[in-house]
């Protein structure tokens, strides 16, 4: 989802650097929240089996909603034809609209992919909360290095074609997350026979 959302923003290395900084900062926040929860609850192994899929499903549905709202907000921002200094925000009618980058960063930070769950188990085995937080901070640094090259997308010129493609791609990916969330919610497999 990062590539379409970056393409939906204005061009410019500084804009994309700001976007990625915000995305990674809220992603780190998500990681640390998870570290605290994992350590306090004794990690995912102590969570009841039915609870874990519900968390998966909820996060996926939230991601779907945010992506769809983001795609809609990009269109509104383009239609306003004003010089956009800020990054695209979702919920522009609210008093304190949330940056799309921040929302996506936090949600991907708490999204429970298998390596993340494994890291959560590892964190829960540490001797103290501080050690768990430190573990996840280093885990974050290790995974975030791969995001740095995406700043280069700021070099791509933006026009109606790029923005429309980005919005449509976000919507398609959102539908996938919607499907994944709903299927997990009703207790079905996501793939194959």
């Amino acid at each position: 989802m990062l590539i379409p959302s970056l393409l939906a923003e204005r061009p410019g290395l500084h804009v994309h650097a700001r976007y990625l900084s915000l995305f990674l900062a809220t992603r780190l926040l998500g990681y640390l929240v998870f570290a605290v929860v994992a350590w306090e609850l004794g990690a995912m192994i102590s969570l009841q089996a039915p609870t874990r899929p519900l968390i998966f499903a909820f996060i996926h549905l939230l991601l779907a909603g945010v992506l769809l709202r983001y795609a809609y907000s990009v269109g509104k921002a383009c239609n306003r034809r004003i010089e956009r200094r800020e990054l695209v925000t979702i919920g522009t009618a609210m008093r304190h609209p949330v940056s799309g980058a921040a929302a996506l960063g936090f949600l991907t930070g708490i999204s429970l992919c298998p390596p993340f769950v494994a890291a959560g188990v590892r964190a829960a085995e540490t001797s103290s909360l501080a050690a768990a937080i430190l573990f996840f901070a280093i885990f974050f640094v290790g995974t975030s290095v791969w995001f740095v090259p995406f700043t280069g997308l700021g070099w791509i010129r933006r026009n109606e074609a790029i923005t429309t493609v980005a919005r449509m791609a976000m919507a398609l990916i959102a539908f996938f997350y919607l499907y994944a969330g709903l299927m997990t919610l009703i207790g079905k497999h996501l793939y194959g026979a």
Partner: protein, 386 residues
């Protein structure tokens, strides 16, 4: 008018048309003789009919100097007969159009060209092909293997660029046939931003394929699963997948072409088409607009089945990169302004020569690649009676 410039619409004499068709006759006969080792009667008749069909169409292209309507006959025949032959083969081998998971695990899933762009990034990062097929033939329905299809695709694409979508794609003929049925379009105003749909689908499917390690388009969004084969619907997931395939086929391939007279699946959805558009940037052959002759009446724009001409592109004297080289605009232009062109040469100097060179290449490849598919479909039908 420049000297030695034949407009694209002047008819030729029968003798000259036959002479120009001769290379295609030789090629078609060569291809048909190599097709079947020991042909039975139905196969022999089907092969002969196909050869005659392709030669006749090319002759008419030469005689009338128009391309689109004759190419369309071939393309619709290909689109209709491919499912006939393919489904028959699937039923003979497996007894069902659904691919059992065991076949996929064994690498016997037949490979078509549509997932090619989805395999590139996963292969680059992990040296793994995320398609449940085999690189070389593997028995059962694995067909010629992924390498054979990739080689054919590359050879055709390097020469004709996105002309693949008009001369080789065995799926596009169905919607082209649907689009040609109504006399007038019921829906005439189409938001031009839908033209970006294929790129969005390509981006989303490439990213999902990389994330999920599967050919995401084949698993979730290919409308042509409805007329070929699909994952066996053994559970809720399979039912959802097949429901999506059928809905997309009905909408994009049947209903929307009937309403709009456009190739809506190709123009607004197909990610492979978007990928092929990239090759139009390096393709030798293209269609240009001779600005000295253009009025502009925008008949070319209205005739284009994939909306590859805009007011701005016409002013610039070119088509968009999504042009499929079907020839509709060239045939529709009353002033001979829309012309075939060889990259690097002067526009409209010898458009008919450019057209001939393109058609020889494209038609030869159509005979080689699609001729066998048409013959196979025909033979399947003839088997019922013979």
């Amino acid at each position: 008018m420049a000297p030695n410039t034949q407009t694209a619409r002047e008819s030729r004499s029968v003798g000259r048309s036959l002479l120009l068709t001769l290379p295609i006759v030789v090629w078609a006969l060569l291809m048909s003789s190599a097709a079947y080792g020991h042909a039975n009667r139905a196969q022999w008749i089907a092969s002969a009919v196909t050869v005659l069909f392709m030669i006749t169409l090319f002759f008419m292209m030469m005689r009338t100097s128009s391309t689109y309507r004759w190419r369309r006959w071939f393309f619709v025949a290909l689109g209709l007969l491919f499912p006939v032959g393919f489904i028959h083969q699937v039923m003979v081998f497996r007894g069902t159009m659904g691919i059992p998971i065991e076949e996929m695990i064994a690498g016997r899933t037949p490979f078509c060209f549509l997932p090619i762009p989805l395999l590139i990034l996963p292969a680059a990062f992990t040296k793994t092909l995320v398609f449940p097929g085999s690189i070389l033939p593997n028995g059962g329905m694995s067909g010629g293997g992924m390498a054979a299809m990739a080689a054919v695709w590359l050879a055709v694409t390097l020469v004709v660029g996105k002309g693949w979508c008009s001369y080789a794609c065995f799926f596009g003929g169905i919607e082209e046939g649907m689009a040609s049925l109504p006399a007038k379009a019921k829906v005439r105003k189409i938001d031009p931003r839908w033209r970006y749909g294929p790129w969005a689908v390509l981006l989303a499917m490439v990213l999902l394929s990389l994330a999920l390690f599967e050919p995401a388009y084949c698993m979730w969004l290919c409308p042509f699963k409805a007329v070929s084969e699909y994952v066996a619907a053994r559970n809720t997931v399979g039912l959802i997948q097949n429901g999506i395939f059928i809905a997309l086929f009905a909408g994009l391939v049947i209903v929307l072409p009937l309403l709009t007279k456009k190739r809506t699946q190709c123009a607004f959805f197909c990610p492979f088409g978007a990928f092929q558009s990239i090759f139009n940037k390096i393709s030798v052959f293209e269609i240009k607009i001779d600005k000295s002759r253009c009025t502009p009446c925008v008949l070319c724009q209205k005739s284009c089945p994939t909306m590859a001409l805009t007011d701005e592109s016409i002013k610039q004297g070119e088509t968009l990169m999504s042009c499929m080289k079907c020839g509709a605009c060239v045939d529709a232009c009353p002033k001979g302004a829309a012309v075939w062109h060889i990259r690097g040469t002067e526009v409209a100097l010898r458009p008919e020569r450019a057209r001939l060179m393109f058609l020889y290449a494209a038609w030869a490849m159509s005979i080689m690649f699609a001729g066998g598919i048409i013959a196979e479909g025909l033979a399947t039908i003839l088997h019922i009676f013979i």
